[in-house]
């Protein structure tokens, strides 16, 4: 059986025996911004958060995405409405989108739990609207875990993707992500990091956006 054959060849090559233990893997030091203890000044934490949000928005813009700071859910809703501009949209089941009233905008359909129906809509919708589980400030990245609240195809099939994210979810970067989420597989079958609009430079290294994922992305940070 190929499983046994492969494992045997590996063991023989390494001079190891079945069930032999291993030394611990080299440690990886994840550098996270000093998590402020509860007793430290609240305003220092606010500055850290503001810096992070500013970095996130800047990074998104640097990737040719569009970013927006919305003070309230209502502001976020207005922005999304303006971006939609009458186009058809599919929104995820993220509670935050409902809180912001985004799902109530004209032309937005949401609440899908059936794969086939959702796919059919995603294939024709002009805009896909989601929240995000986290955002990474240093790279302008959205972190999306597949769940009953977030389907995969909404941020993938429509040519425009809008993500509306509460500010608390903005992390400093990968190190912090893997510190607070060391086992993504325990929670979801799919964690996707989205860093900017889809792009290719396969022909003469000339940059083309929107092949095959969304060519236009908007990141709205709320709060």
């Amino acid at each position: 059986m190929s499983r046994e054959a492969t494992l045997n060849k590996v063991r023989t090559a390494l001079g190891r025996s079945a069930g032999q233990g291993i030394a611990a893997p080299p440690p990886v030091r994840l550098r996270v911004e000093a998590h402020l203890e509860a007793h430290l000044e609240a305003h220092l934490e606010a500055i850290g958060m503001e810096a992070r949000i500013a970095s996130m928005l800047r990074a998104v813009e640097a990737l040719a995405g569009k970013s927006r700071r919305a003070a309230t859910g209502e502001d976020a809703r207005s922005y999304v409405g303006a971006v939609l501009d009458g186009r058809s949209a599919v929104a995820s089941n993220a509670p935050f989108l409902r809180e912001c009233g985004v799902v109530d905008l004209a032309g937005v359909q949401s609440g899908f739990t059936d794969a086939a129906a959702l796919r059919a809509l995603c294939a024709t919708a002009e805009v896909g609207i989601t929240s995000a589980d986290y955002a990474l400030a240093d790279t302008g990245t959205l972190v999306m875990l597949a769940s009953p609240a977030e389907a995969r195809l909404i941020s993938l099939l429509p040519p425009v993707h809008i993500a509306v994210v509460p500010k608390e979810r903005v992390l400093s970067g990968l190190d912090e992500l893997f510190t607070i989420l060391p086992h993504p597989a325990a929670q979801t079958s799919s964690m996707v990091l989205i860093t900017g609009p889809s792009r290719t430079a396969d022909i003469e290294q000339i940059l083309v956006r929107g092949v095959h994922g969304p060519g236009e992305i908007h990141v709205v940070v709320v709060g």
Binding site: L14, I22, V28, P184, S190, I203
Partner: protein, 472 residues
């Protein structure tokens, strides 16, 4: 030196447009990487390389353990590990599964491993359509060509090549605007994504503690390939393993930056199993093919085992002055550039293309940029020694061996060396210090002729250093 290799090299060097295309494309990637790993952008770049090397070393040294751990976690999340020893077993598995499920259409995302095993060719003629969805790979599939570069597969083609190709194979009008060409492909492939029964991807990393596959891309075709069809098959070499999800904090900081200068590629997908209960979409079946295909051979050699650390970033190709001249298609296998030069002889045997380890000036640019610190020049030197040992055993290349034996003897006998040097200097023309366009008949040996085919020879000075020193 094989005739085939020489011919391909000569053809590439003679093609001025191709030379320019290769030089420009690699030049751009060199620049992008430089900015992305600069001290201002990534202050702990060197430390990350050291960590990545240590993680890979540890994993490879304990590969059986991590394979089993990966398999256990994959299974626990509803996936299935399929060990395959070679290309045939992979094809048999895919064909078997396709038949069982009545599948007819497969979409593929970019995977060098599937190129390595000629998967598309093996799936043909079985009432199965397998479509490449990465734009560069799609173009190559239509053109029946191999990738030119690990990361930029269609590097060697112009927009005019693509326009002609699409017109010929897709029956569309000849379009030479790149944006429009991309949209043509997008439209065709969108239909394929949505209709496909099976999605086949590669894997940039296999995460042992999660039973997960990590995929990086910029287009979104890998996400579509692994999310739209009901079945997802990831094909991965067994060396792709890393121990923990958190180790990605090291590797992801190195991969994009080393390959294209991106801090992160547009999409990074961490996939562990078919869709979970409650999830709305995603595949219903998830298979990870764990491919050997000779990797256990490399594993068995502690001196060259580090060749398996490669994370396929392509940086060594971009920085290699030889690759930048001869391009990807001069290499005998799908893996080109410095990494191709060290793994090809190990997979195929050194007799496959014995000159390959010598087709390097050992400049070390590859080792300098390798994110996992593979000492490529060291492995090349080991392979060279192996080639010469094999030649000695077979009694081949006797003249060269004899020449070096004599050379070594002379170099160990200083007075003989001095006499030999004076004798050589006496037949070499001096010509008032001007460099020589040609050599006198007595000197016109093959090595001298080879030198003169490209550049002038230095004239022999009137006195050697030691003669001058004695007079000082």
């Amino acid at each position: 030196m094989s005739v085939a290799f020489d011919e391909k090299v000569h053809k590439t060097l003679a093609d001025a447009n191709l030379q320019l295309a290769i030089y420009r494309a690699t030049g751009r990637l060199i620049d992008h990487r430089k900015h992305a790993v600069a001290a201002t952008a990534l202050p702990d770049y060197q430390e990350l390389r050291t960590q990545a090397n240590a993680l890979k070393r540890h994993t490879i040294e304990h590969l059986d353990h991590y394979l089993e751990q990966f398999e256990a976690n994959l299974t626990a999340h509803g996936g299935k590990a399929i060990y395959c020893q070679d290309a045939t077993e992979v094809a048999d598995f895919v064909l078997g599964l396709a038949k069982e499920r009545g599948a007819h259409l497969i979409v593929k995302s970019k995977s060098m491993t599937t190129e390595e095993i000629d998967l598309n060719e093996r799936l043909e003629h079985h009432n199965l359509e397998s479509v490449e969805t990465d734009l560069g790979e799609y173009i190559l599939q239509l053109a029946h060509q191999r990738p030119y570069h690990i990361v930029a597969p269609a590097l060697h083609l112009t927009r005019y090549d693509v326009g002609d190709l699409f017109a010929r194979t897709l029956g569309v009008a000849n379009e030479t605007v790149v944006e429009r060409q991309a949209l043509i492909a997008r439209a065709v492939l969108r239909q394929k994504f949505l209709a496909a029964d099976i999605g086949i991807s590669g894997a940039n990393f296999l995460v042992a503690d999660s039973g997960a596959v990590l995929l990086v891309e910029n287009e979104g075709n890998a996400r579509l390939t692994t999310s739209a069809p009901k079945i997802h098959i990831a094909v991965a070499g067994i060396e792709k393993l890393i121990p923990r999800a958190q180790d990605l904090a090291v590797f992801l900081k190195l991969l994009g930056r080393s390959a294209t200068g991106q801090a992160l590629t547009v999409y990074t997908s961490f996939l562990s199993g078919p869709r979970r209960a409650g999830e709305i979409d995603g595949p219903e079946e998830f298979y990870v093919v764990l491919l050997d295909n000779g990797r256990t051979k490399l594993l068995a050699d502690p001196g060259k085992r580090e060749s398996l650390y490669c994370i396929r970033c392509g940086a060594c190709l971009n920085h290699c002055p030889v690759y930048r001249k001869i391009g990807g298609h001069s290499f005998p296998w799908v893996y080109s550039g410095p990494i191709g030069a060290i793994i090809t002889p190990q997979f195929m045997g050194i007799e496959h293309e014995p000159s390959l380890p010598f087709a390097s000036s050992l400049c070390g640019a590859c080792a300098e940029v390798c994110p996992v610190k593979i000492d490529i020049p060291k492995v090349l030197l080991e392979l060279r020694a192996e080639v010469k040992q094999a030649e000695e055993r077979k009694g081949a290349n006797r003249l060269e061996r004899l020449a070096f034996k004599i050379w070594a003897w002379v170099m160990c006998h200083p007075r003989i060396y001095e006499m030999a040097a004076m004798a050589a200097a006496s037949v070499a023309p001096a010509e008032n210090g001007k460099w020589l366009r040609s050599a006198p008949a007595v000197m016109n040996l093959p090595p001298v002729r080879a030198w003169l085919s490209q550049r002038d020879l230095p004239p022999a000075p009137a006195k050697s250093f030691r003669e001058l020193w004695r007079k000082r």
